[in-house]
């Protein structure tokens, strides 16, 4: 497909960014083969340049290359397998077989309502082992409707014999609920529901998190979910892929959150609309599963349809003992066509924030050091996993001081909560995260859930109910996101959030980590 060069130049010149054109870097224009471009772009790069963007690729017609077949990207291959079509291209609408459908307490009742209305009150779901129902959004609240909604999904799960329903009944003590997990996207991973090569749909925009496992995962609405519940199929359009090649050694003050904020800041909140975002490169290969999940989690904030990371030894190791369902990873062909390719030299990046009120309102953390803050929030599917808390603890440990603002800790799942209380923090002489948090004066880690990431009912823990400034490890900062319309949310990595808690201002974590 021919890409207009105007699009490429507008993307490059849209902001004062570290991305430069091939011309600026003094290298020749690149064509279709990513492997060639690696060698070329590493030459002649000045120390100021932190990343290089290739011009958007133009399609070379088969007659000019002599090749009739072109390869497929990994997203296209997943669609191909799921729709039982040997070949397909971006733009095609195909019916795919769904491997897993997830829903939660906010969208579950609506999806169930539609399912029953359309397929009949006595209808059965297409496969009771492929539907995963996870109460996680509005759990620890006295809101009657919220509590009723958990009852609705419980009743449905029992009636249908849903195998994976992570129930909670005792709201006063989450540990008293043996089945309860917590935040859906983290629970899906921890319970082995994310597998390479599969199609996972969920009634939540951050379902894209699961792309970290090399699968196609995206969010859908209640009506689509109702349809899937009945048929096990969904009509989806094959997305073209944007490829992000991240190379370079990850500095010890950066986390995956900084990488994705860098990218969203670059391409904007609509830069990846309807597209797949594929992440490859040596840096990606060095990331843990949880870091890959953070990366894929926020592709929706760039408008992305799905994020995807090729499965490798790290993935397989994580999945050991978590799932007995056989899976088959797929990988992008060398000849696969990408809509555009972005190359990033990670070693040149610095800690970032997304300033109010947009995830693409990117700024260097160090340039925001005069911003006084009122609170810090560490939690959510984006920044409330075990490694996120270990990271925050690392900064607090390095400082040895107490936080200057209320610091709220919301573990994503039961397992994360357990890890906070049991895992030793490296370099601490055997202390756990919880001990470090307590010594630093943070709030006690609370019951696992989505918490105040999206505000929620008025009595939600850590909800912003006044016009305050908050540094948060969550994923969105549009007006009113965490509650109050005039709340100001700075999205950041756990390192940056912890550093900011220590000073009471937006703070670059290098102030404590070096």
């Amino acid at each position: 497909m021919a890409i207009s060069s105007m699009a490429a130049s507008s993307a490059i010149s849209s902001s004062s960014s570290p991305f430069v054109t091939q011309k600026d870097a003094g290298v020749s224009p690149l064509f279709a083969h990513p492997s060639n471009s690696i060698k070329i772009s590493q030459k002649k790069v000045s120390t100021k340049i932190v990343s290089v963007m290739t011009p958007q690729q133009s399609e070379r017609k088969p007659s000019t290359t002599g090749s009739v077949k072109t390869g497929m990207t990994m997203t296209e291959k997943i669609f191909s397998r799921a729709s039982e079509k040997s070949r397909l291209s971006p733009g095609e609408n195909v019916w795919v077989n769904v491997d897993v459908l997830m829903t939660h307490d906010v969208c579950g009742p609506g999806s169930i309502g539609i399912f029953k209305k359309e397929f009949g009150n006595d209808a059965k779901v297409w496969d009771r082992e492929k539907v995963v129902i996870i109460p996680d959004h509005y759990i620890f609240t006295t809101d009657e409707r919220a509590n009723r909604n958990v009852d609705i999904i419980r009743e449905f799960s029992h009636e249908q014999g849903i195998k994976y329903f992570y129930d909670i009944k005792d709201l006063s003590n989450f540990k008293a609920n043996p089945d309860f997990k917590g935040v859906c996207h983290v629970a899906l991973a921890q319970e082995g529901h994310c597998r390479p090569g599969e199609v996972l749909l969920g009634t939540d925009s951050h379902t894209c998190t699961a792309g970290a496992f090399g699968q196609f995962a995206t969010g859908i609405g209640n009506t689509d979910a109702g349809f899937v519940l009945g048929t096990g199929k969904a009509l989806l359009k094959v997305p073209p892929t944007l490829r992000f090649v991240l190379d370079g050694e990850m500095p010890d003050y950066l986390l995956a959150k900084d990488l994705i904020l860098q990218i969203i800041g670059e391409i904007s909140v609509s830069g990846a609309t309807y597209k797949a975002m594929e992440f490859v490169g040596s840096t990606i290969e060095s990331l843990t599963m949880e870091e890959r999940m953070t990366l894929c989690n926020m592709v929706v904030e760039a408008g992305g349809k799905n994020g995807i990371v090729p499965a490798d030894a790290t993935t397989f190791k994580y999945l050991e003992n978590k799932t007995s369902v056989p899976y088959e990873p797929v990988y992008s062909d060398d000849q696969a066509r990408f809509l555009a390719e972005y190359r990033i030299d990670v070693s040149k990046l610095e800690p970032l924030v997304a300033k109010p009120h947009s995830p693409d309102n990117r700024a260097l953390a160090r340039e925001c050091k005069y911003v006084k803050i009122d609170r810090v929030y560490i939690g959510s599917c984006t920044g409330g996993k075990t490694e996120d808390f270990l990271a925050a603890a690392k900064v607090l440990l390095a400082s040895g001081e107490k936080v200057k603002v209320p610091t709220f800790l919301v573990p994503a799942t039961q397992k994360v909560w357990m890890d906070i209380y049991t895992l030793p923090v490296p370099g601490s002489g055997g202390k756990t995260c919880s001990q470090i948090f307590e010594a630093a004066g943070c709030d006690t880690p609370t019951s696992p859930s989505c918490g105040a990431c999206l505000g929620g009912p008025k009595d939600t823990y850590a909800r912003i109910n006044e016009p305050q400034v908050c540094v948060s490890t969550t994923n969105r900062n549009f007006p009113g996101r965490m509650g109050h319309k005039d709340g100001q949310i700075y999205l950041a990595s756990p390192y940056t959030a912890a550093a900011s808690a220590l000073t009471g201002f937006v703070t670059d974590p290098r102030d404590f980590l070096r």
Binding site: A2, G91, V106, G113, E118, R145, T231
Partner: protein
């Protein structure tokens, strides 16, 4: 009444299906790639439907055939009313803040309540409220927006709240994909796209008409007219009342037992 959810039986389906094939919406996906704005990849979910393939499994081919059947007659061809203008990146938290998501759209009384909260999340800089306190519907039946309307969450409550509030159509420069998809699937609103920044030239309260078949937006207050991108194959789906209603109308899935 069937106790197992399933797609319609093939034999009855194929014999009743009209083979009338509507030309795909004017924008083919390749044209979209050629557009100058990088962001304007605007597929409609029923656009460029795959031609039935004999090797495709039974269920898939049923559905693929069905989408060619469209019924242009007796359709809603125009909307008329006061418009409400918003800017870029109106996300789902502004359309329906998360605290109202305990309302379940499939319950009629809660559906109605969602309407009363439509766009209540807009900042104070929007001086005119979309729905007056105490009301369930807005006096503005058409929303005019900038880029990336509906970005953020996958919550279907967003197009539902707008539809419940009486919105007939949104005219935006571009949409976020889940919102667009949900609008079509529910049939709640027509998510129409403009070719220019109409939001810069219209003001809240302007009286407008949308001629759907002509893909035209007329602002009577300013006297200006704007071409819209044709809604294409998504139109019949919305008109039928969403994908399920459409699927029944076209014989794709069995009619509801009464």
């Amino acid at each position: 009444m069937s106790t197992a959810a399933s797609l319609a039986n093939t034999t009855t389906f194929s014999s009743s299906l009209s083979r009338r094939q509507q030309a795909p919406a004017s924008i083919s996906t390749f044209n979209v790639f050629n557009s100058t704005a990088q962001r304007s990849f605007k597929p409609l979910i029923s656009q460029s439907i795959v031609v039935p393939n004999p090797t495709v499994s039974r269920h898939a081919s049923i559905v693929a055939q069905a989408t060619f059947d469209s019924s242009p007659s007796g359709s809603a061809t125009s909307f008329h009313g006061a418009c409400y203008v918003v800017r870029d990146n109106i996300d789902t938290d502004q359309i329906i803040p998360a605290e109202y998501l305990t309302l379940v759209p499939s319950k009629p009384d809660e559906y109605k309540k969602l309407g009363s909260y439509a766009l209540i999340g807009l900042p104070e800089s929007y001086e005119t409220r979309f729905v007056e306190p105490g009301e369930y519907q807005s006096k503005y039946s058409i929303i005019i927006a900038g880029d990336n309307f509906g970005c953020g969450s996958s919550r279907e409550h967003a197009p539902v709240a707008l539809g419940a509030a009486g919105v007939a159509a949104v005219v935006a420069e571009s949409y976020a994909r889940i919102f667009f998809r949900n609008s079509v699937a529910t049939g709640e609103i027509y998510p129409l796209e403009s070719e220019v920044r109409v939001c810069d030239e219209c003001k809240t309260g302007d009286v407008v008409t949308i001629e759907l078949e002509k893909s035209l937006l007329i602002n009577h207050t300013t006297g200006k007219e704007y071409t819209l991108k044709p809604i294409g194959d998504a139109g019949p789906v919305i008109e039928a009342g969403g994908i399920f209603a459409y699927a029944r109308k076209s014989g794709m899935i069995a009619a509801l037992a009464t």
